[in-house]
């Protein structure tokens, strides 16, 4: 029997009761899911990205289904940081939720990250900060994680502004070499990198002669991107000494195990919550048995089991 404590995991300074979180933008502000999902079971909740100032978001249609995937261009629709702190955080931090809350923030300019980080410094109820360096739907939002130096500088500025909170850097896969970006984030002092945000894509209605999304292009998520996201985790795990949160198309316990043995210390489940709202808590229940099948007795022993030891046959 694997005891519940064996499910805990560490992302640098961030300790989580288990490695399965729900991803930003795919679980609203969590309250919408009250009654359907037992929050206490979750490894953590990452609420929808918050920006310094309110943003109305992109014009609809904001999503389009593709083969085994979903394209979205929501455009960081949110009411701004102050509204979040007043109206969402108190409930998220309450005993009704009782699981770690990772605040995900995005910025229009590099100076907004430290400003926001400084604002939340010392506030109760926030377990960690996740910098969304990678939203493909906002002009400028993608640039921070496309150059290693810029990525390092932004991460370092947020860390300086709020030194006590564990810091995650969420990266875009839409780069030539994700390893060097992850290295930049690690050099900037983050506790872990979250890999990955959505893949840039487009859906076109040729009969109406226009893109389906109101914004034109969007980010692809869901089962369709799993092998791509897994590859990102694999590459970074083999090259950079930094804990990884694996994200992308994770829907089943098999997916969770694949990301862990590829090197992820935790995972986030996103799109699956739309079509299988209780998927995250279900895979947590299935985790002990899967670890036993792998022949290990804790999550810690599973992390990187394949990526850290495998070599191509000569």
């Amino acid at each position: 029997m694997i005891p519940p404590t064996a499910l805990s995991t560490k992302l640098g300074r961030l300790h989580l009761p288990n490695p399965v979180l729900v991803a930003s933008g795919t679980f609203g502000y969590a309250r919408e899911m009250a009654g359907l999902v037992d929050f206490k079971k979750l490894g953590g909740i990452v609420p929808k990205t918050v920006t310094l100032n309110p943003r109305p978001g992109n014009p609809p249609p904001r999503t389009a289904e593709t083969t085994s995937g979903l394209l979205n261009a929501i455009g960081l629709d949110n009411d701004g940081l102050e509204y979040f702190l007043q109206n969402h955080l108190p409930w998220l931090a309450s005993t009704e939720v009782a699981c770690p809350i990772v605040l995900n923030i995005a910025a229009k300019s590099a100076d907004e990250f430290p400003r926001m980080a400084a604002r939340v410094k010392g506030l109760p109820g926030i377990a960690a900060l996740e910098l969304n360096l990678s939203c493909p739907n906002v002009a400028g939002g993608i640039d921070f994680a496309t150059k290693p130096d810029l990525c390092r500088a932004v991460v370092a500025s947020a860390r300086d502004a709020c030194p006590d909170l564990p810091l995650l850097a969420k990266l875009t896969p839409n780069v030539t070499n994700i390893v060097e970006i992850a290295q930049g984030a690690a050099d900037g002092g983050c506790d872990a990198v979250s890999l990955v945000n959505t893949f840039l894509g487009i859906a076109i209605d040729w009969r109406r002669k226009k893109p389906i999304l109101g914004n034109g292009m969007g980010g692809l998520s869901g089962p369709a991107i799993k092998p791509l996201a897994l590859r990102c985790v694999w590459q970074v795990a083999r090259a950079v000494n930094i804990p990884i949160v694996g994200i992308g198309g994770i829907a089943t316990i098999d997916d969770v195990m694949e990301f862990m043995v590829a090197g992820a210390s935790a995972v986030q489940m996103g799109t699956v919550s739309f079509y299988d709202p209780t998927a995250a808590t279900r895979v947590i229940d299935q985790l002990p048995e899967a670890l036993a099948t792998l022949g290990v007795s804790s999550v810690a022993q599973a992390i990187g089991l394949v990526s850290k030891t495998w070599h191509p046959a000569i």
Partner: protein, 289 residues
């Protein structure tokens, strides 16, 4: 972007077996599902997400209105019905289901139809095509034929009229069910194959001035009905069928512009799945044109 939280409403996620699947009209099917728990929570105007388990294409659930609850001989709740028009991947699969097959269903979702003001004695429902689906349960409720969500049946208004438009007769589904529920049905077909030849607004022109309109159907029809009602000073509610990725309020894909005095722009995006699907037409920015 209004993210004010929907109050928590009871909602269940179940695997439901198919009790029957019958074709009602051209490309239009009625799916009867076993599910007393889910049916016991549902009220007219609410909807469900439906999906076929174990496959990723189609991936997401699809929203369908509560069409009717299903009772056994003793009046006990057995399940619910949805009626759908075959338009794409999921609806094609649903139309092929056989009794004993199962689907995933979660709900009820969204707000029920808003309360009819006390002084209103006659409700005019306006349906365009498959937009008729939320109105059968509603007609039953308004006329005291059936209670929902644990409430006993109670007559709310004296009369329910249904103005039901479609391109042609073969697309009109379930007229007899509405008649049996006690609604006065006025079919309108564009080709005149049944009822009035013309559109639903032509049908509205033939009625005594409505007191309270509730409309559901394609967007151009909602524009026309909202304008018709506004020009005559008739209160008008519209139920929207915006594409939805989750139906739960967590993806922010289903937004619509709603008038808001708090915003400098005068409007704010609201989520149709939790703040709707029914809105007062006077508050929908796009319907003011």
């Amino acid at each position: 972007m209004d993210s004010s939280c929907a109050q928590q409403r009871p909602c269940a996620h179940k695997s439901a077996s198919v009790l029957a699947n019958d074709q009602l009209a051209e490309r239009t099917w009625r799916l009867r599902l076993h599910g007393p728990e889910v049916a016991a929570l549902a009220q007219p105007g609410q909807f469900f997400m439906v999906r076929i388990a174990g496959r990723t294409d189609p991936l997401l659930g699809r929203p369908f209105a509560l069409y009717d609850t299903v009772l056994d001989g003793q009046g006990g709740l057995v399940g619910l019905e949805i009626v759908h028009l075959v338009v794409g991947k999921m609806t094609t699969l649903l139309s092929g289901l056989k009794p004993g097959d199962s689907v995933e269903i979660w709900g009820p979702l969204g707000m029920r139809f808003p309360a009819v003001p006390d002084h209103v004695a006659r409700v005019t429902l306006v349906a365009g095509g498959i937009g008729q689906t939320p109105f059968l349960a509603y007609s039953r409720e308004l006329l005291g034929g059936r209670g929902f969500a644990g409430k006993s049946a109670q007559k709310v208004v004296d009369k329910v009229e249904l103005v039901y438009g479609a391109r042609r007769e073969s697309l009109l589904a379930g007229l007899d069910a509405f008649v049996q529920a006690g609604a006065c049905v006025l079919p309108c077909t564009e080709d005149g194959s049944l009822g009035l030849k013309g559109r639903v607004t032509d049908g509205l022109d033939t009625l005594e001035k409505p007191e309270w309109i509730v409309a559901c159907g394609p967007e151009p029809m909602l524009y026309a009905v909202a304008r018709w009602a506004r020009e005559r000073g008739v209160p008008c509610q519209v139920s929207l069928e915006t594409p939805m990725a989750c139906g739960l309020g967590i993806c922010f894909s289903c937004v619509v512009k709603v008038a808001s005095s708090e915003q400098a722009s005068g409007w704010d995006y609201q989520r149709v799945c939790i703040d709707g699907p029914t809105f007062d037409a006077a508050n929908l920015i796009d319907l003011q044109k």
